[in-house]
């Protein structure tokens, strides 16, 4: 019998079948954060339940904690402190490992879980956070859940899961030099639509995927949730095994060899059947930018914002009109017509060392500085990323070009009621969501790769760097 990678992972974690479509799956790792994890831990404590396997559960502070230097438990969000204190208390009470604010390994949950070797190929991992699918980039079976489901996993080491359909997206051709994994996923969402992966576990495949570095694979899978997918997956290969080797929670010695041998079988068999297949030709892929309020509202950086009258149906026309009103862009214009007020490099999509290097390299190569009146921020995804970047002098490059250099966390990827850019402010952002109000009331978010964001910050208007 041939099987897809997803079939293999499903089977490997199946404790029992519950019905034709539902199984009880074993959950190898649980990760929590102070925004939604506190609710899961509190629920558990209220119901007088214990964490069944404490050693498999972890927690970080990333969402609400400030990213300003010198930060502590107090945050710019008025009630932020309550979340931090409650999460710390619940982590202590339940005895799970917490990467607290001063911890050198603290950072954005989806950045630190691969960094520490907590996420590994083939492991099942859940977190009450929709971007948990990021870890599919290592070949882990990782998906986002709600707080009640997280509580279920904490109490029983399992989840009752309805089996998703399988889907493969195969990219044809090599990724052009000026395009990144972020452009690849934005293009995919634009082509398949924001609901294009609904109810599916998506495997990304093709030579361009094999050529991607591990961190770029994490970027790609990060946005599978923007296709409404159950998760995104990439078959792990030697690059991934090398990446994982020696990480604090990764196996060592004989057990490492055993794991490695096992992981070599984690790929879709030749001829395996997927419920759905898509093939996308990416030979001419250009840097992508979003113009609207859904990640599917993406275009080539030098393309044209669509006219509402060209919408395929009424519902789309209404959605485009709303999006254009909110964003202050009009059909027929080019995005380079719009000046930016701010630039944000960070988030679980693009805050890893390779992302920071890409942007810093642009600054070093061109000698450009951030344009006047543009507020620019660089927020490393974790303490490890920050220290590694500083060791290479990237912080100096960012600072001297006019960027703020922050402490690790989600920061202004989303607006929790604390810090924001301000009403009507236009931001070039490496984040994953451009929803109305996502980065704060009235904030206009254009999502793009770190290279496009840094180029826009320096130009003072939306633009891509295609010199590569």
């Amino acid at each position: 019998m041939t099987a897809t990678l997803f079939d293999k992972l499903w089977q490997e974690h199946e404790v029992m079948t519950l019905s034709e479509r539902q199984s009880l799956l074993y959950v190898d790792r649980i990760f929590l954060h102070e925004r939604t994890g506190s609710a899961a831990l509190n629920g558990l404590l209220e119901h007088n339940r214990a964490v069944r396997r404490r050693e498999h559960a972890f927690c970080t502070m990333d969402h609400i904690v400030d990213t300003l230097p010198g930060r502590g438990d107090d945050t710019l969000m008025p009630s932020g402190r309550d979340f931090i204190v409650a999460t710390r208390g619940a982590a202590q009470e339940t005895g799970i490992q917490l990467f607290d604010i001063p911890d050198p390994d603290q950072g954005i949950v989806h950045v630190i879980s691969p960094e520490l070797g907590i996420a590994l190929p083939g492991l099942s991992l859940i977190c009450p956070d929709s971007h948990t699918c990021t870890l599919g980039g290592l070949g882990a079976l990782a998906w986002g859940v709600g707080s009640t489901e997280a509580e279920h996993a904490l109490a029983t080491s399992t989840l009752r899961v309805t089996r998703p359909k399988t889907m493969r997206v195969t990219f044809e051709g090599a990724l052009p030099n000026s395009a990144t994994a972020k452009d690849l996923i934005l293009y995919t969402i634009r082509e398949l639509s924001g609901a294009g992966g609904a109810g599916c576990a998506i495997e990304f495949a093709g030579p361009a995927i094999q050529a991607l570095a591990v961190e770029a694979r994490l970027t790609l899978c990060n946005m599978a949730t923007e296709l409404s997918a159950f998760t995104g997956l990439i078959a792990p290969d030697q690059k991934v095994f090398d990446y994982c080797n020696g990480r604090p929670y990764a196996p060592r010695g004989d057990v490492w060899d055993q794991a490695n041998a096992h992981w070599h079988g984690l790929h879709s068999d030749e001829g395996a059947r997927f419920d759905r297949e898509h093939v996308l030709d990416i030979r001419a892929l250009k840097p992508q930018l979003s113009w609207g309020t859904s990640p599917q509202h993406a275009i080539d950086w030098d393309g044209v914002v669509p006219h509402v009258i060209d919408a395929p149906d009424d519902a789309t026309a209404v959605a485009w009109q709303r999006a254009q009103d909110y964003m202050g862009v009009s059909g027929g214009s080019q995005l380079s017509d719009y000046s930016v007020d701010a630039a944000f490099i960070g988030s679980c999509t693009n805050s890893r060392l390779s992302d920071l290097r890409l942007a810093a390299e642009y600054l070093a190569r061109t000698g450009h500085r951030v344009a006047n009146n543009v507020k620019a921020l660089c927020v490393p995804g974790s303490g490890q990323v920050k220290r590694a970047a500083e060791a290479e002098g990237l912080d100096e490059i960012f600072r001297s070009a006019g960027f703020e250099w922050r402490e690790p966390g989600c920061s202004m990827c989303f607006f929790a009621g604390g810090e924001s850019f301000g009403d009507g402010v236009r931001v070039a952002s490496t984040t994953n969501r451009n929803f109305e109000g996502r980065q704060g009331l009235g904030v206009r978010t254009h999502i793009a790769s770190p290279l496009t964001v840094v180029a826009s910050a320096c130009a003072g208007h939306l633009v891509a760097d295609i010199s590569a």
Binding site: M16, H56, S157, F414, R433, F435
Partner: protein, 210 residues
């Protein structure tokens, strides 16, 4: 969990596609660690002209007097997409909603709804359009009656009740108000047996046991 069997109520149409959880309950409205105190923030970006000052947008459907007391929501495709925050479901429930009828739902939202006794029903977009028109013509009188046992929606628009399909295990859970965790705890022996087999196969999974 409170069981769900039947519910009849005023129905508010908010027929847009891709309504995300940041809109249902913005992060800034999730002010406390608890699961309550969320109803004021429900749809805050649309409900208020200025969410900080709480100035009501009278044009928003849930602010119209005719729809006051609405407990069923009619909406478009991919409802509840985006962030996994269960607060979206808690905010809807706290605001009195018991049923959401949409063209389709985002998976995490649907799972969260199920675990909290909020019924999600999928209907064809044409049916949703028709129902939206009908309930709008006299919101307080044109109520919908949802029966989960029979899987029907009753309304005066047609003589025979409309049927819908729902995942059988989800239906059982809702009808009986089952606590999933309690249910799974009955299988703890099977889970332990799985771990024993699995540990021989994948020892690297089991931290702190070598």
């Amino acid at each position: 969990m409170t069981p769900f069997k039947q519910h009849t109520g005023i129905t508010a149409p908010l027929v847009r596609d891709n309504i995300n959880t940041d809109t249902i309950i913005p992060s800034r409205e999730m002010r406390s660690v608890s699961r309550s105190g969320l109803s004021e923030g429900l749809f805050a970006p649309w409900r208020y002209h200025d969410p900080n000052a709480r100035t009501l947008n009278s044009a928003f459907v849930l602010n119209e007097a005719a729809f006051s007391g609405a407990s069923i929501l009619l909406t478009g495709a991919n409802f509840g997409c985006g962030s996994s925050r269960e607060h979206a479901v808690w905010a809807l429930l706290e605001s009195g909603f018991r049923v959401i009828i949409a063209t389709s739902f985002a998976t995490i939202f649907r799972n969260n709804a199920l675990r909290n006794g909020l019924l999600t029903i999928e209907l064809h977009p044409d049916r949703i359009e028709q129902l939206a028109e009908w309930v709008s013509s006299d919101p307080q009188a044109h109520t919908l009656g949802v029966d989960l046992e029979a899987c029907t929606i009753r309304h005066d628009l047609q003589r025979d009740a409309e049927t819908f399909s729902v995942d059988p295990s989800a239906r059982d859970m809702l009808l009986q108000g089952l606590d999933e965790i309690g249910l799974t705890e009955q299988s703890l022996d099977d889970i332990a047996a799985f771990e024993k087999r699995d540990q021989a196969r994948r020892p690297w999974v089991y931290l702190g046991t070598d």
